[in-house]
């Protein structure tokens, strides 16, 4: 919106300087307009070329996944001369389990993490945004501080704890913490959002005798859908991409997730089967790409307000 007002003074100045010579003014204006248009087209060409360069590796991966093995490094163009789906079949069955098994494991963990984050983080966010309690500022600072804590500094004791509980090689270490609101970033995101909601509705409900649970579940949650969507999408993408904690807590191939299985695939077949590996890599990025397309609006708003990755 500001862009329009920002270009105005320029054009105003140009036409203003030549008001006494009307015919001159016309040609000057026309020339200035074509110059502006030419510059704009140049900008677009530059932006498109740059975008293509950025996406080129991805396109190359997709095209390589569709090429017969012997052509991947021989043929340099993006468009395959012959298309095959062999790579997908070969990759799917390359490890002990078909890749569907690993996709299912990833899906279970991701779904659990999304539900856990939505539930636990919204509960905590309501308390921080709407309730008064002793030492509130202190606890809020603790919550913010926990966001910046590197995973590495807690993962060794966590491993010891989870192995005492017999949870290594189960999905619990990856799901249960989410139900305990350990992804504090999303508490912060929702606190920021709930604070922007008008308090009139809560107060009216309070006077009508509604308790905080009712206000939370009937008023705040329905109004917070954008923040919840942002939380869900980012939790999905982060959990789907997560590698370190899955690598540590899931050592048995039966419970491996897609990223860990892909790593095993890379290790076991070395430099030999790039076609199948690319094919599975493309498939593994599919869900993220889907969520990206579906939830762009929420993603952009989420990053803009909180600086999420």
């Amino acid at each position: 919106m500001t862009n329009k007002t920002r270009t105005k003074p320029d054009s105003g100045k140009r036409s203003g300087s030549g008001t006494h010579a009307a015919p001159m003014n016309d040609t000057l204006l026309a020339r200035a307009l074509t110059a502006v248009r030419g510059k704009k087209i140049l900008t677009h060409i530059g932006l498109i070329l740059f975008g293509l360069a950025m996406l080129y590796p991805l396109l190359w991966m997709i095209s390589s996944a569709l090429k017969p093995e012997e052509l991947i490094f021989r043929e340099q163009g993006l468009i395959p001369t012959s298309i095959t789906f062999e790579n997908f079949g070969a990759g799917w069955n390359a490890l002990r389990h078909p890749f569907g098994h690993y996709f299912m494991n990833s899906a279970i963990i991701t779904a659990g993490a999304v539900v856990g984050n939505l539930l636990a983080c919204s509960l905590a966010a309501y308390a921080f945004a709407r309730l008064e309690f002793p030492l509130k500022r202190f606890w809020f600072a603790v919550m913010l501080g926990s966001i910046m804590l590197p995973l590495h500094v807690v993962i060794v004791p966590q491993y010891i704890l989870f192995s005492e509980l017999g949870w290594i090689n189960t999905f619990y270490p990856l799901i249960v913490p989410k139900f305990l609101a350990t992804d504090a970033f999303f508490i912060f995101l929702m606190v920021q959002f709930i604070r922007t909601l008008p308090r009139d509705l809560d107060e009216a409900a309070l006077i009508d005798g509604a308790g905080h649970w009712r206000i939370f579940s009937r008023i705040i949650i329905p109004l917070s859908m954008p923040a919840l969507a942002t939380t869900a999408i980012f939790t999905f993408i982060w959990t789907w991409n997560d590698f370190l904690s899955q690598l540590i807590f899931l050592t048995n191939p039966d419970v491996h997730t897609v990223p860990v299985a892909l790593r095993t695939f890379l290790d076991s077949s070395g430099e030999s089967s790039w076609g199948p590996m690319f094919a599975i890599s493309v498939l593994s990025l599919g869900p993220i790409f889907g969520f990206f397309l579906a939830g762009q609006r929420y993603l952009v708003r989420g990053i803009a307000t909180t600086g999420l990755k």
């Binding site: 740059f50 590796p57 919550m143 926990s146 807690v154 060794v156 913490p177 139900f179 350990t182 762009q296």
Partner: protein
Amino acid sequence: MTAVQVPPKQALPQAVPVLPDPEHARQSRRKRRREALTALAFLAPWFVGLIVITAGPLLASLYLSFTDYSLLGDHEWVGLDNYTRMFDDPRFVKALTNTAIYVFVSVPLQLSFALALALILDRGVRGLPIYRSIYYLPSLLGSSVAIAILWRKVFGADGLVNDFLGFLGIQGTSWVSNPDTALGTLIVLNVWTFGSPMVIFLAGLRQIPGSYYEAASIDGAGKIRQFFSITLPLLTPIIFFNLILQLINAFQSFTQAYVVSGGNGSPADSTLFYTMYVYERGFNAWQMGYASAMAWVLVLIIASLTAVNFLMSKYWVFYNDK
């Protein structure tokens, strides 16, 4: 949990001078206590998580960092041994150096790209949402194993980069298996994900009122002058925010180096990152005491870097809200 038992101290002095109405004071006290109990109920999962998953392990790892714990068997108090050992450990020094180079080269480059593209896109380019999405996509995919595998091949001996160089008549090497260039490929990968700071810059640019530019151009300020006198100063808080965020992120990056190097920082430890070495010591060599000590040093590094940044910010970050 102790929080609930604390009496609401402010209630009494406020209520007494107005009217000696003990019934009213008691009621409001009761209301407050009820609200605190409600808050406790809402915060219960978070409190449990804080104690069991975050704070407890944090203290435990501090304790372990003074022991030689190895998961099996007992642990023995070794004092500061783990900390002094680090500086005699050439692999630790190598990992710290690699990570520092990675962070201090890739983050400024990444933010420069982000700022430059944001400035170009903010000048009323039509189709802004499409460009924004295209440039943002790598940020979402960049931390995945799949992209790391792709990177290994793009910069491999017969990969995309060498295809391109061959097209220009230049003979390339295998970038990922040459110790001089392997770290560079990871830096390129981090720069590639400039999209998320770019989106933050775009949001910041939109906050600058158009009237500032109008006033400046009436006063005869040119485009360049406007950039240095309006855009850049008003954008410094966002630059600062992005800088802190990306520095913290980059210091902890793990997946990319782990996958591109095949899990061991090869070639010749040139891509051994700090976090990879912590992982290797802790979960491959089971030297959990040593790993905990390194993790605590990482926390100290990140904390002091952030603190220095905040101190320095006084000299270059401009806040318009005064």
